[in-house]
Symmetry: C2
DNA sequence: GAGTGGTCTAGACCACCAA
DNA sequence: TGGTGGTCTAGACCACTCA
């Protein structure tokens, strides 16, 4: 049936459908990697035509929220796929070669949120957070020194042991263990000189230029969930970015 | 009419239409900023339904090749728009404030392409290029030292005077004066220490960490047209990137 | 009011996949 | 073989813009 335009929300129908599907994703109706209902099923559930359900799903696919596979169905996107890893880890070897990735956890403690970070995570300054430091190794060479801050409440249960299980992919762990999926992030890049700690951990002279990447990651409802600062040695690596 | 699937190219119809429209863009049938034919006109021209022409235009719009304006028409995208500037100039003030942009041309000479750059521009090493150096000022403070290399042939006529006319937006000049529109770019970011030249021009001590941005820009047919290296002082500025 | 792009529907056929 | 997403069509109405 054709709905009148004077709907509760002044949104096209397909966007309302998209919002409803997003709500179901937030509520966890389908976990990461699972198939979601077909176009026809959504059309029936919401009383719209298949084309309208399709357009809602197409937009979710364009935002990398879901993945469509011809002949199989539509699936909740996952950080398992190679594609997704490249979307979030932009540092690549200068010569383009593939590399073995490894990581070394340095520490993982409970702490209190500093004001600046609390603001970016949209939590109260001083509230409980989990504070992680780790080293990322490319082909067995330490390249990135990461500092990760997580709000303690949704991430309750994040411990050194848990982190170790996922070969350094924090996002895979959030998904698998906590059902928290990051769908987008905002990065701020700056050049900086290595401080004493970074220099010693990366095996450099203090003051060596490093690429500093500050990242805030968001879940479905644009809620910030993770703050991260990576200090990267860029002698043999580039941060690759496609502008379109 | 419904065309059989066994078309010359194994592409969906709307992609074939898209390719045809792209060809017309390359040939310069419509200049930057101009209106292109309506959906109905394309449908008639290519003998397809309006919906198919629409899907072709939608994809071109998604790639920022054209801009759609309800009630007015579809237009060839331009680097005039504020949106587009932000798409290519990612350096923003740390406090988020808007800034006055200015530029100072340092030199503009004819030269020969070095091997590495020639390869990226897909031209022969040693072929004629235009070699430009300039300083970009944010709020009257020098922030970026740019080096720009252009193949001499398509960019014949690029001179110091011409560059001055466009308030530093090279892309606007390429469009307006030469009909060359950049549609995408690839950037490689690295942290480096200021060499003597950069240090003196930016008013820094040699060795100061700088964000190095190497960019290759492409026109419609994915043809590389410009090589650029920017050395950026990131004390009060960030390179902002949205990952989706 | 005429023309444009935006939304929505309904129905057809195709390509792919799994059982 | 039946179900999925992918393509294509045709026609309707809406919202916006401009003369």
């Amino acid at each position: 049936m054709n709905k009148p335009r004077a709907s509760p929300l002044f949104q096209p129908l397909y966007r309302q459908i998209k919002a409803l599907i997003t709500q179901s994703l937030i509520s966890g109706e389908w976990g990461p990697g699972e198939a979601i209902p077909s176009e026809m099923e959504f059309a029936a559930r919401f009383g719209v035509s298949q084309g309208t359900a399709r357009k809602a799903l197409d937009e979710l696919a364009a935002e990398n929220i879901v993945v469509r596979r011809q002949g199989k169905g539509t699936f909740v996107a996952t950080h398992e796929e190679e594609m997704v890893k490249l979307r979030f880890l932009r540092l690549v070897a200068a010569d383009g070669s593939k590399e073995l990735l490894d990581n070394k956890l340095l520490c993982c403690v409970r702490s209190k949120a500093a004001a600046g970070i609390a603001k970016m995570l949209n939590i109260r300054a001083g509230s409980a957070v989990i504070d992680i430091k780790r080293l990322l190794l490319f082909s067995n060479k330490p390249i990135i020194l990461d500092r990760i801050i997580l709000p303690a409440v949704p991430f309750k249960g994040v411990t050194s042991e848990r982190i170790g299980d996922f070969n350094g992919s924090m996002y895979r762990m959030y998904e698998t263990r906590l059902g928290i999926r990051m769908v987008r992030a905002e990065e701020r890049l700056v050049a900086t000189g290595a401080d004493v700690e970074a220099a010693s951990l990366l095996g450099l002279a203090p003051g060596t230029p490093l690429l500093s990447i500050e990242r805030v990651s968001y879940t479905y409802d644009d809620k910030p969930m993770e703050w991260r600062l990576g200090l990267c040695l860029t002698d043999d690596h580039h941060y690759l970015n496609h502008l379109e």
